[in-house]
Symmetry: C2
Subunit: 453 residues, 2 copies
């Protein structure tokens, strides 16, 4: 690379998610030197993260090394590192341990979980944005059942088996359905004291209905199916507090040891350090061409951007398609300018809605494609096909299909290791014999009472 690189223009991409990867890929065979930097060494297929959290898939099924995705594209140089600041005037990206200079910069840093100003909730209510988040939820989910199995106190056991999911968007709906399935189908046959009707799964959302961004009839449908599965749904209430003992929703306190947060997202902290305009959710406000005001060589794409659809005037949604489309759009602008044939004026981004879907449970998903809305087994099939299609890597696709098929047939989940040191532990375990003694005693007492009557 060195022999020619001194003449080549330089493009730096921050982030290897849907947006960043799609930007990089668009420059295949283009004479440009690309640095792609990410704080993780893998690209994550976030839509399936809830399946890692609930033991259905392995982390490596839905994450592929960024290097591996791009290794054939010789003009890309991947770096693992965390960007600490950007000097827009000198055109330098600073990261932990070094710096990169650029001619064009694409910020594709994605989003992180938002606790709406209540960051103190985080420790009690893990979010679901990273592999580590998913493993933490998985740990808590399966540990809860292990502890409940040996918990003598009825009230404590109920608290251990109460799962509150905050946020009724697609992630919250999918997580609630999957947790309920774990509780009713996967685990009870392997436990002696935990039965399939013991676990409470509660889904909370402040809105009027579930999956707000999707059509109303599908929101209703999702609610109907989840309620039939036994998920309790609380709408139009807000979570006012989360502690290790439970949640306060509205005025009601629900004792619960497991709270999972799928309520909101915000831009990364990096945005706050930059001299740019951000919205309330730390997303960077961009021009119609996705560049930042005053710096036509700097673009923001995907979840990191606060962008407005040029045709509808609506905000571009923070979904995979939004990231892919803004990424490709920006890449096209840069490519044209690099190749010396830009249009007189840069185009304005407009989002093309390919539809949306959400899995609810075994054999049931909701889907909206254009004006066609459907659910049930047909939705479920579409959901599975679509998610497998978009997974990166042929082998991952094959293995995920295999896992799904197997789990579907056997109603099981294989990936439920509790890793790390399980420090959270049972408050009061009982000896089986002690319990038997108590029962014997109770039965004797009962008999006496019966005889006396």
């Amino acid at each position: 690379m060195n022999q020619t690189s001194k003449e080549l223009p330089r493009l730096v991409i921050i982030g290897g998610g849907f947006a960043g990867i799609n930007v990089a890929k668009a420059f295949k065979n283009v004479a440009v030197e690309i640095d792609l930097i990410d704080k993780r060494n893998y690209h994550l297929f976030q839509p399936l993260l809830y399946q890692v959290a609930t033991g259905e898939l392995d982390p490596a099924n839905i994450a592929a090394p960024i290097r591996k995705i791009l290794w054939k594209q010789k003009n890309v140089h991947v770096a693992l590192g965390k960007v600490t600041n950007i000097d827009f005037d000198k055109k330098i990206v600073h990261f932990d341990g070094g710096e990169m200079d650029y001619d064009y910069l694409v910020i594709a840093t994605g989003a992180q979980q938002s606790y709406f100003g209540h960051d103190e909730f985080r420790v009690h209510a893990p979010g679901l944005k990273t592999i580590d988040d998913a493993l933490e939820i998985r740990r808590r989910l399966f540990l809860a059942f292990e502890e409940a199995e040996w918990e003598a106190d009825e009230e404590s056991r109920r608290k251990k088996l109460t799962f509150v999911i905050v946020g009724g968007g697609p992630t919250g709906v999918e997580l609630a359905g999957a947790v309920k399935e774990v509780a009713t189908e996967t685990l009870p046959k392997e436990f002696r004291n935990v039965h399939c009707d013991m676990a409470r799964v509660i889904l909370v959302d402040g809105g009027e209905r579930l999956v707000g961004p999707m059509p109303e009839d599908l929101g209703k449908k999702a609610q109907e199916v989840l309620e039939k599965m036994g998920v309790e749904i609380h709408l139009q209430v807000h979570v006012n507090d989360v502690t290790s003992e439970g949640v306060v929703i509205g005025d009601e306190t629900i004792p619960a040891e497991n709270v999972f947060w799928a309520a909101g997202v915000q831009g990364q902290d990096l945005a706050k350090k930059l001299d740019v305009e951000t919205d309330r959710g730390s997303r960077i406000v961009v021009n119609p061409d996705m560049s930042i005001p005053g710096h036509p060589e700097v673009f923001v794409v995907g979840d990191a951007a606060h962008a407005t659809d040029a045709k509808t005037g609506k905000p571009v949604p923070g979904v995979a398609q939004g990231a892919i489309q803004t990424g490709r759009f920006v890449a096209e602008i840069i490519k044209q300018e690099l190749q010396g044939n830009p249009p007189k004026e840069r185009p304005a981004f407009s989002y093309y809605d390919k539809g949306s879907m959400a899995m609810i449970g075994r054999g049931n998903a909701i889907a909206a494609i254009g004006k066609v809305h459907y659910s049930g087994i047909l939705g479920w099939i579409s959901w599975n096909i679509l998610h497998v299609m978009f997974l990166v890597g042929f082998r991952n696709r094959f293995k995920v299909m295999l896992d799904w098929l197997w789990n579907y047939i056997w109603k099981t989940r294989r990936s439920r290791l509790i890793t790390g040191d399980p420090q959270v532990h049972i408050k009061r375990l009982y000896s089986e014999r002690q319990k038997r003694e108590e029962e014997k005693h109770r039965r004797l007492l009962q008999r006496k009472q019966d005889e006396e009557q």
Copy 2:
């Protein structure tokens, strides 16, 4: 269970490894109440752990929930918990949060890594006994290459790409071969500045040859193959120090940022708390029938026991077969006594050596079965078949075979996520441009010198 359980004898098994699981399974359809307690919720297939550490397999491929293995056996009650003490007189097992009483007790707690009195090495040289260990090695291994890719200083880069594996037993040999393969076959094509001849892999052992417990010709063979692959082997030297900067072997200091420890094992700390005789490696010394002196109702099996082969007088080896065989042996004694037809005298345990194997590299493994020793592709095929056969769970077997086949064909490894916060970071990253400037300068200088000559 409660209606009849008060008359049933009680068996407590501590540990769900090869030994513990095999004890439990032997009591299928026997009228006994079994509590199996483990500090992890999964049974781990340790012989394949090095493949998780080197990104070949996912953790869930080689670990199965203990509950899932035993769910059909209704007389087994599984508990997640850490045993804190055992009262041999009152026949009670204490664990974090509760207690269990027993009529028979089987201690199958396995082994942990031993640093031979140098526990201060541990932080710099992770062992390879648990999933968490394997993930830590995986993290360090792949992070080393990420850091090296952007390291400007030649000396630092060399240190980052030097991997020292301490211990030349089967685990050390397998790990060294796999790390070398990662360095030469898997990664270089995805990197721009790291090339396949850059990484040094050094295997250190205090003995005269590799894989000491295996026949001498195979030890020689392993050394020959590893050296051909480029692994440097240091024999008959001891590791005198391990720091974050490197290792001291004998008098020589080797600068290395990655040290992996596969040198020795010892019993769990629990043994030290008990009023029992232990050997230097914290293994509990047992009678010929695997019971502990003075307590015929308490047995120790697998790696936790210091047992002597009744026929040969040699120590029973700390391998999977040793655990399986001692487990089944003890289960048979207990079963006979429970069923009221014990032999006059308890039998003495004798180990049946089914052979041993070690993977060296792509298409090459060594194997000793009885007096037949072989290596190369035939050894490799045997190794693969044997390890898949012993894996728990049909789906795991299938998926592991699929992974192996895929990795073999494509010379790749899929499971190389760096999870957790990668805090260890690059000391000095260079800007590509800076490097180019330096090279330009160097070339100009060179040209000048050439012209002057």
